[in-house]
């Protein structure tokens, strides 16, 4: 049955570019908020709903769950990178003191796909007892030659001594692009590289499992409570309704925690075998090496541009480095510059005998944007055009065009840019080279149907909103709280949000930046239903016609009669709590299906030591309706920090002889720290998109797309030569400077 629809005229777009459109909305849903909506709570700064619990240590993460009789689980892993398991003997391990369960996860004959592939699992009274037992596991392997250096792997392109791909361009789809390249006034070709980045979540993967007969409860560090429940149900072959997943707090996932994972499944199996609760959380080294990563990439681009700065040809090819699966290493170049450009996009994967890549915060985009945006600056330099002007000339996204202008002004782009790249500032310390760079950002993240929210109103005027999905740290609890408060017209302090318990209504996996855009319309709908239900209850108590009572703006008004405050109205409920469930209806056609943003960075480079310091960053970002301003800004700043780290520091370093990562820690796997952080500003660019009753769009990922590109461009502006290989460590900077001196 088709839902009945109601047509509303709403105002979408952004200030200075407002448009009226008609949207057809399910008649159970609400009229979408739009540019003309006046908010009371939405868009304001509110303290994170669980901020105090987090900073005082009261928040309990999966890692913090301790149950009586808890055992500690451990995975025994293969030391070889490729081959087969020849023999496995667990008897000695089983006989070790404190050991309660030992399981084989592979049988002799099974393939070993990377150093760290699971072979067995142990649960013991202490983690040290489990480690002692692990040393007693006898494993034999038939090792085969492995390849962990992407450049040595079959299918990898050959690079010359300058790091340029030597292979000819592919023939497939060549005709149009070749013609465009031939016709272009200026053509440039270059190869860019990105190293593997690990998610480096502070809380490692894993969970605590406890069985009650055939029912299972887990406390998981996951960004998909319902996905984890489904994954466990499928693997353990028990009904999903027998499983409860708790994730009230979550120590980071960044795309690596959608499934229970082998570690989660094994915790449950060990708990069953030992008949006791088991906690199994990965060690830091395992987290770096067995829990996914952002694939490395080799990207070659050739592009043609005319004298006036119009890009006429864009040929992009990428060899992704997704590990043993040989799949999922694709990268993504921006598209808004090339809407009317001859364009080709070729994606290949190069398999290595390493852990498989996983989604990581805008999977594939930071790599592609880094390569493309740096190429754009190289092209701009070749024709003597300012990079901003070059963007304005080619960008076809009207939101971003406005953002470029706002950002450039706020950043004082024209003034701060180094007009003589490679030269120090006049009158400044000649040792330091300063430069500024920019990059576009983009993403989708409009969310979709499938979530529901329970809203309860109690007689003491406390409002409870519940959803079973997780707040992976982005601020979902605060979003739920603020939206309920807005719709009910009451202070946020009166609303208590609950998330991360699969007994509550279903919610999305936190991937693709959809959590807020998916949840927001559902909680608003729930609060609206609760508001109407409260009015109906008040009407019944007062004995007036329900149609004459309305609840809005924090008051209950009886037509032609009295007005009750929200608190007084709730008192009439007695023990008869209001409970409603709000729905998430499908998106309707609104304004723009993607979000746009841009970022600016200023760096200085020590020409003696090659050290790059990011001094200042600015992001201008659209995320539709800004619900929780502080949390949205915080997402942006966090992405910039992670981006500085990706641009300057992070790289997986592998011993190719053994296939083992040598820097699987936080000493030599370098994460940016407080002293390395720039001054940062986030400007949220309000766009009414009209897709749902709230019109929120994702922000976690778009803001992670641009930082490395903007920083690499700033370095180019500072030192006058592009450094095309991330991370931009001192050794590479010095090499580039030396090359620049030679030419």
């Amino acid at each position: 049955m088709n839902p009945r629809r109601e047509e509303h005229e709403i105002t979408v777009g952004f200030a200075g570019n407002a448009k009226k459109i008609k949207v057809k909305v399910d008649d159970r849903d609400l009229r979408p908020w739009d540019l003309e909506t006046k908010f009371q709570t939405v868009g304001t700064d509110q303290a994170r709903a669980d901020g105090v619990a987090k900073v005082t240590g009261r928040a309990r993460y999966a890692y913090d769950i301790n149950l009586p009789g808890l055992l500690h689980g451990l995975i025994v892993r293969a030391p070889i990178a490729k081959g087969t398991l020849k023999a496995l003997d667990l008897e000695a391990a089983k006989a070790m003191p404190g050991v309660k369960a030992v399981l084989a996860t592979k049988q002799p004959g099974a393939r070993i796909r990377f150093a760290g592939d699971d072979v067995a699992a142990i649960a013991a009274e202490t983690l040290d007892a489990a480690r002692d037992a692990a040393e007693k596991v006898r494993m034999e392997f038939t090792a085969e030659p492995h390849v962990t250096d992407v450049l040595e792997a079959p299918g990898a392109p050959k690079l010359d001594q300058d790091g340029e791909v030597t292979a000819p361009w592919p023939e497939r789809g060549a005709e149009r692009i070749e013609t465009a390249i031939q016709a272009a006034r200026h053509v440039r070709s270059a190869t860019y590289r990105c190293e593997v980045q690990t998610h480096s979540s502070l809380e490692t993967h894993g969970l605590t499992a406890r069985w009650y007969g055939d029912r299972l409860t887990v406390w998981a560090s996951t960004q998909a409570t319902f996905g984890t429940r489904a994954g466990l149900a499928g693997t353990l072959r028990i009904p999903a309704e027998n499983i409860t997943v708790h994730t009230e707090f979550m120590g980071g996932g960044f795309g690596s925690k959608f499934q229970p994972g082998i570690e989660g499944v094994l915790a449950c199996r060990l708990a069953k075998a030992a008949d006791a609760p088991v906690k199994l959380m990965l060690s830091r080294h395992e987290e770096h090496t067995c829990a996914g990563n952002r694939p490395g990439a080799i990207i070659q681009i050739r592009a043609g541009v005319n004298d006036d700065g119009k890009i006429t040809a864009f040929d992009y090819r990428c060899w992704g480095e997704p590990g043993f699966t040989g799949q999922g290493g694709g990268t993504r170049a921006p598209s808004d510059y090339f809407r009317d450009t001859a364009r080709r996009d070729t994606q290949d994967n190069v398999a290595t005998d390493m852990d498989a890549g996983r989604a990581m915060r805008a999977p594939g985009w930071p790599q592609g944007f880094f390569a493309t945006e740096l190429m754009l600056d190289e092209l701009a330099a070749a024709i003597g055009m300012d990079p901003l002007e070059f963007r304005l000339k080619n960008d076809r996204n009207e939101v971003r065009l406005a953002e470029w202008r706002q950002g450039a002004e706020a950043f004082r782009w024209a003034e701060r840019r180094n007009k003589t790249p490679g030269q120090p500032r006049a009158g400044g310390d000649p040792r330091w080279l300063h430069g500024c760079g920019l990059s576009s950002a983009a993403w989708g993240g409009m969310g979709g149907p499938g979530a529901r929210v329970t809203c309860r109103i109690h007689a003491d005027a406390r409002v409870e909103v519940r959803n079973g999905a997780q707040d992976l740290g982005t601020g979902l609890k605060t979003v739920l709280q603020m939206l309920a408060a807005e719709e009910l017209g009451i202070p946020v302090a009166m609303v208590t949000p609950f998330v991360g318990d699969t007994r509550d209504p279903v919610g999305p996996a936190s991937g693709g930046s959809v959590t807020t855009p998916t949840m927001a319309p559902a909680v608003r709908h729930a609060a609206a239903l609760a508001r109407r239900e409260l009015a109906a209850r008040v009407a019944a108590k007062l004995g007036v016609d329900a149609a004459k009572v309305a609840c809005a703006g924090g008051q209950v008004t009886v037509e032609g009669g009295q007005t009750l405050s929200f608190v007084d109205a709730c008192k009439l409920l007695g023990s008869d709590t209001v409970e409603v469930v709000g729905e998430r209806f499908p998106n309707h056609q609104g304004y723009a299906n993607s979000v746009a943003g841009c970022q600016f960075a200023e760096v200085r480079v020590d020409r003696h030591t090659g050290l790059v310091q990011v001094l200042d960053m600015l992001a201008v970002q659209d995320c539709g309706t800004v619900v929780a301003r502080k949390q949205a800004e915080s997402q942006t700043l966090g992405a910039m920090i992670q981006g500085v780290s990706y641009a300057l520091h992070e790289q997986r370093i592998v011993d190719h002889l053994t296939g083992r990562m040598v820097n699987g820690d936080f000493l030599y796997y370098k994460l940016t720290g407080p002293l390395d952080m720039p001054a940062m500003r986030a400007i949220l660019f309000p766009v009414a998109n009209g897709h749902t009753n709230v019109g929120a769009a994702g922000i976690g990922e778009p803001v992670a797309v641009a930082p490395a590109a903007a920083i690499a461009n700033a370095v180019f502006n500072a030192i006058g030569v592009p450094v095309r290989h991330l991370p931009l460590t001192p050794d590479k900077i010095l090499k580039a400077l030396a090359r620049a001196r030679r030419v």
Partner: protein, 326 residues
């Protein structure tokens, strides 16, 4: 880690008498615990020296020397009143920039001098090398070596990890050690092997010897010292190269100079020739850069650490310049 017995000795003599196979001393334990957790070491008995903090954590001047108790923390050293003034600059800077505030507040200066190297092969149970006794050769030589040695390598590519050692050595410090046979004093340079190799230990103390103090001569009025290090990031990073220098300038000419480099060789690396080359010269950037070139003239970089040569040169020139400007 594996279970061990933790003993708290009542006297240094008792501590010394407890030495033997499977026994290790512990100061703050920052280095030691890392090794235990990684299971590259599993002592049976750990002798905790921290109980001697009352006696061994003082920093005091007596006559022409400053005596730094081995259990003084890096923070104590960095903030010590008696070390104020340009002469001790290298020591203050090296202690004040090491690690993180949390580590500096616990880490002892003795432990810092005696900590084991941070080679990623040496320190992981999964790797066996000649130096950790579980393998035949050096894995860094042909493997991953961007943070390894460029000077004086024999058959092990480790670098000395201490910030403080080059500074103390440049200031001419000695160490006092107490063992079963009594107390002895030796120049800090002799705390480390002359010809470090894979099989040998990283320091020269006998198993029953405890480092009790470091004695630093108070630098002359015209002596200045400085410490500079290069890093890949500014918040808590191990130095990729480090330079501690002592310099005296008289009548516009360098009268005295000592240079000790960190993070480039298996021991704090004395660049005597480079230091000598500056004597009688003007303390100018150009001269400092020439001396820095000389200091690294014998460098033999590995496949991934050639950057350390120019970076080390710049760092040394910076240290010299900083000292000259004090």
């Amino acid at each position: 880690m594996r279970p061990f017995e933790l003993v708290v000795p009542r006297s240094l003599a008792e501590a010394s008498s407890m030495a033997g196979k499977g026994v290790v001393y512990k100061a703050a334990g920052i280095d030691l615990l890392d090794r235990l957790k990684e299971r590259v070491e599993a002592p049976e008995k750990i002798v905790n020296l921290l109980g001697f903090r009352a006696e061994l954590a003082r920093i005091e001047r007596s006559g022409s020397t400053v005596r730094i108790g081995a259990l003084a923390t890096l923070t104590q050293v960095a903030e010590a009143e008696v070390l104020r003034g340009g002469g001790f600059g290298a020591l203050l800077e090296s202690a004040g920039e090491a690690a993180t505030p949390q580590v500096r507040n616990r880490a002892t200066v003795g432990g810092n001098l005696l900590q084991q190297n941070r080679c990623w092969y040496f320190r992981q149970a999964a790797f066996g090398c000649a130096h950790n006794g579980r393998g035949p050769g050096c894995l860094a030589q042909e493997g991953q070596n961007r943070y390894h040695a460029i000077l004086g390598q024999d058959d092990c590519m480790r670098v000395h990890p201490s910030n403080v050692a080059p500074a103390l050595q440049a200031l001419g410090a000695s160490v006092i050690v107490q063992g079963g046979k009594g107390e002895r004093t030796l120049p800090l340079a002799e705390l480390y092997p002359k010809a470090p190799d894979a099989r040998g230990a990283e320091h020269t103390l006998q198993p029953d010897e405890i480092l009790t103090a470091i004695v630093v001569p108070v630098p002359g009025a015209d002596v200045r010292s400085a410490y500079r290090e290069s890093r890949e990031k500014l918040s808590f990073d191990w130095a990729t190269t480090a330079a501690a220098v002592r310099l005296a300038v008289a009548d516009g000419k360098v009268r005295e100079c000592a240079i000790v480099l960190g993070a480039v060789a298996a021991i704090p690396w004395v660049a005597a020739e480079a230091a000598q080359s500056l004597i009688g010269k003007e303390p100018s950037r150009a001269n400092f850069e020439a001396a820095a070139k000389l200091a690294f003239a014998g460098a033999r970089p590995l496949a991934q650490n050639a950057y350390k040569v120019p970076v080390g040169q710049a760092t040394l020139a910076d240290a010299l310049e900083a000292a000259a400007r004090r």
